[in-house]
């Protein structure tokens, strides 16, 4: 196990370096300049000298390669630098908003799993039946509807029929759980539905496959109750590919909350990302990408560990 962990950690380093390099250079080939955006975009009229002085102050007048090595040097000591827009440490900007994003992602995943496992199992148990068709239609609708649109419709429906919207501001799930849950439930439903649709289809396919396995036939022949067969044999064996998907989807989910945070005015990392793009605050964008990459690596690592727990046949290391 330790060998496995060590190898994965070593593999993470070139991945992070690759992501850092790609992100840095891809961002810097884009047109646009933070100083121009800050001083001029809203009708300001800065002098050429002022623009040059601001660029120098922020180190943006340095050759690109110098800026790149400065960025890497910071990463090596876990320093993501300071936002060129606000002057605050990037880590502070990100970590003050990351909890909201992780909370929405986690709640969305709970909604997705709560829908996907029972519905996927039922659909897989009775393929071709009316119930199966109904569940598949539900799943296809979930994939087809963009989360942000569904979120807007859900929010409007709550407003028109119940005159209710999630409370404004940012509440911590640990300090003020009730308010936080009220803020997070609608986005979690909007995003969770979309992801449940993908998982339902995966779970259904796995269940259908498992139902044809020899051990299921044997269990039936032994006279075991269907409910027991499903609970003890079918679901655990069908979960493996679904868990892989859950892991991958969770990491992608964190990155894809950008629009939904905007729709529900949630103060998460997605909103910070949009703000930073619109301001050309590259250093914050780089920081967000690095943090998301770390999350992606960590979740994949946890999924690998979960395999060993669910299926003892899998050996790590």
């Amino acid at each position: 196990m330790l060998q496995f962990i060590g190898r994965r950690l070593l593999l993470a380093l070139p991945t992070l370096l690759g992501v850092a390099t790609l992100t840095f250079f891809m961002l810097h080939v884009l047109p646009g300049d933070l100083v121009e955006t800050m001083l001029r975009a809203e009708g300001g009229n800065p002098s050429v000298e002022l623009v040059a002085a601001e660029r120098a102050r922020l180190g943006l007048d340095q050759p690109l390669i110098v800026q790149y090595f400065e960025f890497l040097k910071g990463l090596a000591v876990l320093d993501l630098g300071q936002s060129h827009w606000t002057g605050k440490p990037v880590a502070e900007e990100i970590f003050s908003r990351l909890p909201v994003t992780l909370e929405v992602a986690a709640l969305s995943m709970i909604v997705a799993i709560a829908l996907a496992i029972p519905l996927g199992t039922i659909a897989g148990m009775y393929p071709g039946s009316t119930v199966d068709y109904a569940i598949r239609s539900f799943a296809i609708a979930g994939i087809a509807l963009p989360s942000f649109w569904f979120g807007m419709v859900v929010a409007l429906a709550m407003l028109w029929y119940f005159n209710w919207l999630p409370p404004l501001g940012t509440a911590s799930l640990f300090k003020n759980p009730l308010t936080a849950l009220q803020q997070l439930i609608l986005p979690a439903i909007a995003v969770g539905y979309r992801y449940s649709a993908i998982l339902i289809r995966m779970m259904r396919s796995s269940v259908i496959e498992t139902m044809h396995e020899d051990f299921v036939r044997t269990a039936r022949a032994k006279g075991l109750a269907m409910r027991t067969i499903i609970r003890r044999h079918v679901i655990p064996n069908s979960l493996l590919p679904t868990i892989t998907m859950i892991g991958l989807e969770f990491a992608l989910l964190v990155g894809s909350l950008v629009v939904i945070e905007q729709v529900f005015s949630l103060n998460g990392i997605g909103r910070l990302f949009i703000e930073s793009v619109s301001r050309s605050d590259f250093i914050v964008i780089q920081g967000i990408v690095m943090v998301l990459t770390l999350i992606f690596i960590a979740v994949n690592f946890l999924v690998d560990l979960a395999y060993a727990v669910i299926d003892p046949r899998i050996q790590l290391g």
Binding site: D33, T37, N45, T86, R97, V263, S265, N267, R279
Partner: protein, 529 residues
Amino acid sequence: MTIHGKILALAAMGALLLNGAVAAAQEPVPKEGGILRYAVSDDPANFDCHAANHFAALMRLAPHYSTLLRFKPGSYPDIEGDLADSWEANPADLTYTFKLRQGVKFHDGSDLKAADIAATYDRLTWPPEGVVSERLETFRQIEKIDVVDDYTVRFKLKEWDESVLGTFASPYNCVYSAALLKSDASYPKEKVMGSGPFVFDEFVSGSVWKSSKFEDYFREGQPYLDGLESYTMEGPAVVNAIQAGQIHTDFRGVSPQGADRLKQSLGDGISIESGPALTHFLVTFNAEKPPFDDERVRRALNLAIDRWGGVKGLGRTTEMRYAGGIFLPGGQFAASDAELQKMAGFGTDIAAAREEAKRLLKEAGQENLSFDLTVRNGPPIVVDFGVFLADQWRQIGVNARNVVVETPPWAAALSEGSYQVIIDIYSALREEPTEQMTKYVSHDVSARSAGRFTDRELDDLWHKQALEQDKVKRMALLRTFESRLYEKSYSVPVVWLERIVAMNAALKGWTFNPSNFLYLDQSSTWLDE
């Protein structure tokens, strides 16, 4: 006077008094208390008013600061003293002398005196190293600032300029503490400490800005509110939040559809005020790049735009409601419709104008003109505006490809001149020609200028009107400026927006006006809840 006459005079006086009493009785008495909640579209980059150039920053910062003068609540565009008790303008020796109120306190309890005004305007006019002043051009006319005594400050100008007085009322010119500036000229970037009606409490980036009533505010009985909470939000979320009663308003305004929806759902629970906004969309032809270095090509493209017909269609579904020149339509400096219709691009016979446009293009050898129109991916109506322009030019056989880009590349294109034709937005703080015209003078005269051109005749007219004290003569200079600008068509205004502010009916005392930048200190706002 006969007895009969005396009785009549007494009766008239009585009627006047009664009238006044009735008016006073009708004026609702402001209620104290309550928290005003409103939406703001963005966070400020930092807390320094002097470096800010966005109304979103002012919506957060203005309640914490006082200014030398201010726009009089309930009486736009009149100006009154804020920190100044009185002032004296002396064109002969080029000075403005301000007498300050006594007993004004900063939020830290210290007294506000003339030294604070001088230090503030020194910082704005001659910023020390590391300090950004977005107002350098505004105060280019100030030669020196003298503290006469603790409560008197004098500004000496390089030459007399009518527009300077109004700049003292700009909410961007927050008055800072001289003592704090002395120890750190950059302190306002990180610390909010002024003498305004509200004291800063908390700012959660991307979420909320909170402040509470300043008990020692110098205006007796104000502010009425206990506090302010402004939430960072925009788009459909704002209208939803107003409908749900979570916020009272968004002072920037809502779309016509948003206003209709709120009226429909809330009825008397919502109050909607609307009128022309001090914001217009303009289009700039890059006069440094062929074929736009040819005046005939630029004028042809200007002539092809049907402004009057355009706003009739666009105004049904968007805020693009008014055709106008470079000054607020119907405003104190605007040309009348009749005057405007005589100028290039503003005629009412669009068929004839387009024929002339085709002729000019043919003469310039540009009958099959095709170019990129750079459009900022900002508010959705900017993209709509780009589509409108492309359609107007298509009708004279010109193909304009709309290239929609994010704000940073758009700002870069504008400043580097790496565009062919570009859409620009100009939101002015107030109706003041000297300031507004900086958008339309030569590029080397004002950094704000959108165009890449040098036209000394326009620059000269701009300069002359700033010095002209006779209103009629000044208006004539403005018309000459406009006429030449549209003829040369370096950069031309096309449509003006409508400002629609939807407010919860409980919100009172706020002054509707065409600018997004004014009356944001909320000193006279109150809640009838």
